[in-house]
Symmetry: C2
Subunit: 107 residues, 2 copies
């Protein structure tokens, strides 16, 4: 079952420190899941689970070639989260602008 990344899945994925560390490692280049497990001192099963959560959030993509599963970065989740944050900030700034205009009118 494939699940489409959405805001909830992206931020759920990024809310965990080990998963953010995985994203930092993967952003330096594709890496096998077993290589990923080493610095984190967690089991391979735990890394696989984390990578699935990151994949559901559209932040990484994994591909199996023979017996090796490789993890690489995916843009989708980053774009979703960045857009969500930009939207919130711009709504807020527009509101401040309107408030400023109202104050100017009254001045």
């Amino acid at each position: 079952m494939r699940t489409a990344p959405n805001i909830a899945r992206v931020f759920n994925a990024l809310g965990d420190p080990t998963r953010r560390a995985i994203v930092e490692r993967v952003s330096q280049g594709p890496v096998s899941v077993s290589e990923l497990a080493k610095p984190f001192k967690i089991t391979l099963a735990a890394v696989v689970q984390h990578s699935q959560v990151l994949e559901a959030g559209g932040l990484v993509r994994t591909r199996k070639t023979g017996r090796v599963r490789t993890c690489s970065l995916q843009a989708k989740g980053f774009d979703l989260a960045t857009a969500w944050m930009m939207d919130r900030k711009s709504l807020w700034n527009r509101r401040l602008d309107r408030l400023g205009a109202l104050l100017d009118e009254e001045a």
Copy 2:
């Protein structure tokens, strides 16, 4: 005790659906904590707790005037998270560029 926002605090704050909903509401304009509690059908104490987590993540700011605590948006957390995501993506893209250059050399 005031805690400086950092990446861990921002993503921890945004990892929760109620807190994201609070950010969406606050991005439309400042709102009192008791107003915030209404649509979420949660206690005032729970909203206060959520707003403290959001404040630690630099996403909102609260100010008490008399007996009313008002919640407004803060840019800091958004900027931190956006910068972190941009950095990850640009590291990845630079790596892809280098890989492309290597392939061109070998062609």
